[in-house]
């Protein structure tokens, strides 16, 4: 008989003890394969709009999974190996050479591994179908998923597990060399030593836990604190748990032992002493289980919480399926026709709601901030309680109680976590034409009855007060519709968007709901999946451990039976021991979880304001269910192995709970509304239009592909740095064609990946058909001294194209503007030959951001070098495409400016700090460094040449963002000795300084975009006005500093542009 045959025979003979190990391996393979095949599933990728994001989420998750799976396999392998020590000892006693035995063990392991792999992949194929169905349900898309069998996934799984199997096989081989013969024999005999415990470490355990918990409840205000808090929390909890199980629990058991009355009572003696006997070996496992359970629960809760919070937010932001402000008869009629024409979503209710609007002052700026007061002439919306309750009735919300005179109830603003107590003692005064009415807050309600719009200050008053207010203020009449199945009203939403008027503020539930559903669905899916794997694995670990213990406990139970202990009592004892082993980590895990979730709730912004009680209860119940199943199965298998019989009721309960779980999953799967058929967008594509440049010259443009042989690319490392730049210049005459806004490949990428992040669908915008105002490769207009040169650096991950409007305008005024994409940081850059290079940045931490800024500065300075080459008559373009006629001559490199948005703004400042060739610059809403700890040198030491700051919006504390409120720019300002100016556009937002400022309103006019997206991107100020302002201030700055033309606009605030503030 060959060794191989012996090995095979051994597996058969040892089948029972192998089974446990086998199953744990199988479990790992199935889970991993399922996961990987989902990752490679083309069906899902097709159905998903941001497939790029999905891939990377899956990537991270599979790395976590693989780490976990390896640990899990190693653990079960170790348990298994210990069981087999004796067998190995016997072989060597029989005179088999160690080498031979080792080889035999190796073969055994290997055969089993292969079998497991094959079965695992087969089972995984079925399971992955189930899981993709769940994912698709969550996403609310409709794709037909067949059986998922992907060769890629098979190969991936095979490689990973072959590596693990090889590793464990080698370990098996080494096993026999590691032990002495006598040890091999005694392996199962040596009693597990009674653990020694000290009261001190018990107390220490409790202290650690208290410390960890306490820090998880502390507030944090900056990144430092987040890190230190989470660090202390984690260390406290982990250390506390380990100490708890190695000492406190033993102490507890020993105390129990000391209580003779209960200890000497029946089987308690056996149960407790067995637990004490095992606790040392178990303490490590129990700590790990507790921690894993806490992690698993937290992961699932965060996922579910985000999904739940996202749905909840959509419902709160848009309580009505459709809502608009009543306009003229024809408009109202056509809206009504469209909504009622949709037969699939019949109208459940239609309501006219009148809301009074007024100026006001609140006793606290949290209730009505200056910003909100600025955003609308009449920022306070007032609704009568009668009206509110009528709506509440229709929307099935809780009604409000009656309100006394001079009292009011607040409606909680969206995205806050205000509570009733925050309003206590506060007042609001309505400044009406005839009188001021002061109202005292007596409460707050979370339920909103009007679709969200900014400013979001709403109060409810009694009907009498309302009538008084209405009589002397402007009212707005809202029309709201509730329809059936509002999650799938895509067509109607699109149709309504097509006819909407800006002042109608038409908003739909569908738009709000679809916004971010993918992110939420992925979070819940991946986190849920990982959580489930963790839970199942922890359950399995306990199961294996308990089962292997009960095998060695069997003789003890036989003795007990011999001296007259009934099977029932033995079963009860086994049940109690298992209850302890399962229950303890469950209780402690749940306690940890509460602390962790408390921390995470404040850490993840998507969880802010979400009521997590429901998700938490749901998660704990599901977790409890799964645990109960494992508990039952373990007890059942243990009793069966001891007495050949199982406790009938436990078996029945397990079956029941299992059925319940299946039913629950089934119900969840089938009750969510069936996904709508996702038809690709057939409506008219929105064509974007850039504003006409205002300068006197036509604009020309060309693209240049630069290859910097002297620099290894810092992001990918295996090639030299390549850049794409565009040069925009005053053109002598028109050329044959206008340049495209974006090259086709890049346009496709942004259509598929970026557009979805604002809640739109690919294909709705004609990105590739959008043209600029610039003539491609037109000859350059002559100028005696050449045109001043301005460099433009876009924001982090933003392509250079999104700065085109301002850039073209500058060029038309007589500048050569050079825009630069920072390859591998920018989401996607298209190079010649339709080569698309996508972003390679991982986590946005301090290190990445500082490196990013470093690379950008190098890029910009290199570009400046290349411009000098062009001036010298050379052509740096890698493909040697012909440069526009007269480009070299047209460059005046003694007058160089630089500007940029966000990270590009910080880049501009830092380039000026490092490079004397640049004379003047603008930072548009860019933080100079990674604050608070890593300001850029330029922020620390300032500049001695002209620089302008342009900021938008408000900071967290409601202050206008400027050098007065931002540390980095504050330090920059103080240390700068040159000409300087700080302009703020408080009602703008971060993307005000990009083409979004003009393009978003164009989209909003024709498509349904969530008002929140627009507000968050470009703010609330009148958009064309804001664009005009920024364009003219930028131009004025460069006219002054690069052309020496005086600019009164820069001297003091202008009545032309009231939205721009001068910050002194």
């Amino acid at each position: 008989m060959t060794l191989f045959a012996v090995a095979k025979k051994n597996i058969k003979g040892n089948f029972k003890s192998y089974l446990i190990y086998f199953i744990s391996m199988l479990f790992s393979v199935v889970i991993y394969y399922t996961f990987v095949s989902l990752q490679y599933s083309t069906e899902i990728a097709k159905g998903i709009e941001s497939s790029q994001a999905m891939q990377s989420i899956f990537m991270v998750a599979s790395v976590i999974l693989i780490l976990f799976v390896s640990v899990f396999i190693l653990y079960s392998n170790n348990t298994f190996a210990r069981k087999r020590k004796k067998e190995v000892g016997l072989y060597s006693l029989l005179g088999l050479q160690r080498k031979t035995i080792g080889r035999m063990l190796f073969y055994e392991n290997f055969i089993m591994g292969t079998v497991v792999l094959v079965i695992g992949i087969a089972v995984g194929t079925f399971l992955s179908r189930l899981f993709s169905m769940i994912l698709i349900r969550l996403l609310g898309i409709s794709v037909d998923v067949g059986m998922v069998f992907s060769l890629k996934a098979v190969i991936n799984t095979t490689i990973v597990f072959m590596a693990i199997i090889l590793f464990t096989s080698i370990q098996g081989y080494r096993l026999i060399y590691k032990f002495k013969l006598i040890e091999l024999f005694r392996a199962e005999q040596v009693g597990e030593q009674q653990p020694k415990t000290s009261v001190i470490s018990g107390i220490l355990a409790v202290l650690c836990l208290v410390l960890g918990y306490w820090f998880s409840f502390q507030r944090f205000s900056n990144n430092e604190e987040v890190l230190s808090n989470i660090g202390i929390t984690l260390v406290g909890i982990i250390l506390g748990t380990i100490l708890l199980f190695s000492s406190a629990v033993v102490l507890l058991l020993k105390m129990k032992k000391r209580n003779k009355k209960s200890y000497y009572n029946g089987m308690n003696l056996v149960t407790t002493s067995n637990l004490v006997y095992r606790i040392k070996g178990n303490s490590r496992m129990l700590s790990v289980i507790s921690l894993l359970s806490a992690v698993a629960l937290s992961a699932v809760t965060v996922g579910v919480g985000m999904y739940y919070g996202f749905e909840e937010n959509a419902r709160l932001a848009t309580p009505f399926s459709y809502m608009y402000i009543s306009q003229d008869e024809t408009f109202n009629k056509s809206v009504d026709n469209i909504i009622r024409g949709d037969e699939e979503h019949s109208v459940v209710a239609q309501m006219n709601i009148s809301v009074a609007k007024s100026k006001g002052e609140a006793s606290s700026s949290d209730i009505l901030s200056g910003r909100e007061a600025n955003a609308d002439e009449n920022p306070v919306k007032i609704i009568s309680v009668g009206q509110y309750n009528k709506i509440a009735n229709i929307l099935e919300l809780t009604a409000l109680p009656s309100i006394e005179n001079e009292k009011t109830i607040a409606i909680r603003p969206m995205y806050t976590d205000y509570e009733s107590s925050d309003y206590e003692g506060e007042t609001i005064t309505l400044n009406l034409p005839k009188e001021d009415i002061t109202l005292e807050f007596v409460g707050m309600t979370v339920e909103r009855v009007i679709n969200w719009s900014y400013p979001d200050v709403m109060i409810v008053v009694n009907d009498e007060a309302y009538n008084k207010i209405e009589a002397q203020s402007s009212t707005v009449d809202y029309v709201g519709y509730v329809v059936e199945d509002q999650k799938t009203t895509k067509k109607t939403t699109d149709a309504l968007a097509a006819i909407k008027m800006p002042q109608s503020k038409l908003s739909t539930f569908y738009t709000e709901y679809r916004l971010g559903i993918e992110g939420a669905a992925f979070n819940v899916f991946i986190l849920g999946f990982l959580g489930l794997v963790f839970i199942m694995a922890t359950g399995s670990i306990i199961y294996f451990k308990q089962l292997s213990e009960v095998t060695s406990d069997k003789p003890r139970y036989e003795i007990l039976s011999k001296i007259g202990v009934s099977n029932r009592d033995i079963h009860m004892s086994i049940l109690k021991q298992n209850a302890f082993i399962f229950g303890l980590p469950l209780v402690i895990g749940v306690a940890h979880y509460m602390a962790i979730i408390n921390f995470l709730k404040r850490f993840f912004s998507n969880l802010a304001g979400v009521n997590l009680i429901q998700p938490i209860v749901l998660c704990v119940i599901i977790f409890g269910f799964i645990y109960a199943i494992y508990f039952g199965v373990t007890v059942n298998s243990s009793t069966k192995s001891v007495s050949g019989k199982s406790i009938p009721i436990v078996g029945a309960l397990v079956t029941l709970v299992f059925m319940l779980m299946i039913a629950l999953v089934g119900a969840l799967l089938w009750t969510t509304p069936p996904a709508e058929k996702e038809e690709s967008y057939t409506g008219e594509k929105v064509i974007l239009e850039l504003p006409k440049p205002t300068g006197q010259y036509e604009v020309g443009t060309t693209e240049i592909h630069l290859v910097d042989d002297t620099r290894v690319d810092p992001w990918v490392n295996d090639k030299v740095r390549e850049l794409m730049i565009s040069i925009w210049y005053p053109a002598q005459e028109e050329s044959e064609e206008k340049a495209l806004y974006m090259k086709p490949k890049a346009a496709k990428y942004y259509d598929e990946n970026t557009v979805t992040t604002i809640g739109l669908h690919p294909g709705q915008i004609d990105l590739s058909g959008t043209v600029t105002n610039a003539w491609l490769n037109a000859p350059v207009e002559n100028s005696d001294k050449g045109w001043p040169v301005i460099l433009y650096s876009p924001g982090g991950t933003v392509p250079r194209n999104f700065g085109t409007a301002v850039v073209e305008d500058l060029a038309s005024r007589g500048y050569v503007v050079v825009t630069v994409d920072h390859t591998y940081e920018t989401s996607a850059v298209e190079f010649p030959g339709e080569r698309l290079e996508t972003g390679k940045l991982k986590a946005m931490n301090a290190e990445t951001i500082l490196k990013m800024l470093d690379v950008r500065v190098d890029d910009m300075r290199y570009v400046l070098d290349q411009l000098a080459e062009i001036q010298d008559g050379k052509n740096p373009d890698h493909e040697q495409s012909e440069l526009p006629l007269g480009l070299g001559r047209a460059l005046n490199l003694t007058k160089v400016g630089i500007f940029g948005h966000s990270a590009g703004g910080a880049t501009s400042a830092q380039v000026m700090y490092e490079d004397d060739r640049v004379d003047a610059g603008i930072d548009m809403d860019g933080t100079m460094g990674y604050m608070p700890d890593y300001p850029l040198p330029v922020a620390k030491y300032g500049l001695n040449r002209p620089f302008m700051l342009m900021n938008s919006g408000y900071n967290k504390d409601g202050e206008v963002d400027s050098h007065l409120t931002a540390d980095d720019r504050n330090s920059f300002w103080k240390n700068s000795t040159g000409w300087k100016l700080d302009l703020a556009i408080p009602e703008g937002a971060h993307y005000t300084f990009t083409d979004y400022q003009i393009l978003f309103p164009q989209l909003d006019r024709k498509l349904s975009i969530s008002p929140r997206v627009i507000q968050q991107s470009i703010g609330t100020a009148e958009s064309d006005q804001v664009f005009e302002a920024q364009k003219n201030y930028i131009a004025a700055f460069f006219e002054l500093h690069l052309k020496d033309i005086p600019q009164p606009l820069l001297d003091s605030p202008s009545t032309l542009y009231p939205e721009v503030e001068f910050i002194k």
Binding site: Y264, L269, N567
Partner: protein
């Protein structure tokens, strides 16, 4: 007199992978209340097997056993374990101590299971530990004590609950003569004062001489039976030796030793 145990036509066959291996060939045995009976026989003759069957720990292949007049065939697991718990004390040949418990805990286990009050239970343990001289090792674990100490612990556990039927499988096998005599004396007093019924397996003629009746088993059958009646223990001992000699040489070494013991003891 009442029949405590009545075994009829007990047959036991061990089946080992196809080959059947008969151990007991149809044994009839009756133990009366208050009896102190012994069983002797060569190693491997089926003594332990018989005792296990009488204790309901093992099942006979055929035949019936009546305990207190009731057939165990009609009893369920619950009743059987109740019998073992409440009526039976078994001193096992291989001790069967629980290694997770201390000596003390091992001894008091039957009382704990019977839910005896703590104060009563601890007093009983001390008393019995004194009797068997194991007081100093009460807090030790089985793997920390010697074979003889283990045997005394096992005996203590078997008799602590004053069982009405004591089955002892070689209770003196690992004991020195002093300890053996102590144990036998306590069995004797249990039999006399507490009217306990005792059935003891032994290879030792000296130990067997404490019995009132001794059965000899050979090759799975009852070979013969000796009754002490009114003979002195010394004479009964001699008679036992005679029978053992008759049974065959395999026991000679033990008998030889027993002789020496006898010389010392009597």
């Amino acid at each position: 007199m009442k029949k405590v145990v009545e075994a009829k036509e007990i047959k036991k066959v061990y089946g080992l992978k196809g080959t059947v291996f008969p151990v007991l060939h149809g044994i009839d045995l009756t133990v009366l209340e208050g009896e102190f009976a012994g069983i002797m026989g060569p190693s491997g003759s089926g003594k332990t097997t018989l005792l296990n069957i009488l204790a309901t720990i093992d099942q006979p292949t055929s035949g019936d056993i009546k305990i207190d007049g009731e057939s165990i065939l009609n009893m369920n697991e619950e009743q059987l374990s109740a019998f073992r718990r409440d009526k039976l004390g078994f001193i096992f040949q291989d001790y069967n101590l629980l290694d997770t418990l201390t000596v003390k805990e091992n001894i008091l286990l039957p009382l704990a299971i019977a839910k005896i009050k703590v104060w009563e239970l601890e007093g009983r343990v001390d008393e019995i530990a004194d009797k068997f001289g194991i007081r100093p090792i009460l807090e030790k674990y089985p793997y920390q004590i010697s074979g003889g100490q283990k045997q005394r612990t096992a005996a203590s556990r078997a008799i602590i609950s004053n069982p009405s039927l004591i089955l002892a499988d070689e209770p003196t096998g690992a004991l020195d003569s002093k300890s053996a005599t102590d144990l036998l004396e306590s069995l004797k007093s249990l039999n006399k004062q507490d009217k306990a019924t005792i059935l003891m397996v032994t290879h030792d003629a000296f130990a067997a001489s404490y019995c009132k009746r001794v059965l000899f088993i050979k090759d799975g059958n009852i070979f013969t039976e000796l009754v002490k009646e009114n003979t002195s223990r010394k004479d009964f001992f001699k008679k036992l030796l005679d029978v053992l000699n008759m049974l065959g040489g395999s026991e000679s070494d033990i008998i030889c030793c027993s002789k020496e013991k006898y010389k010392r003891e009597f």
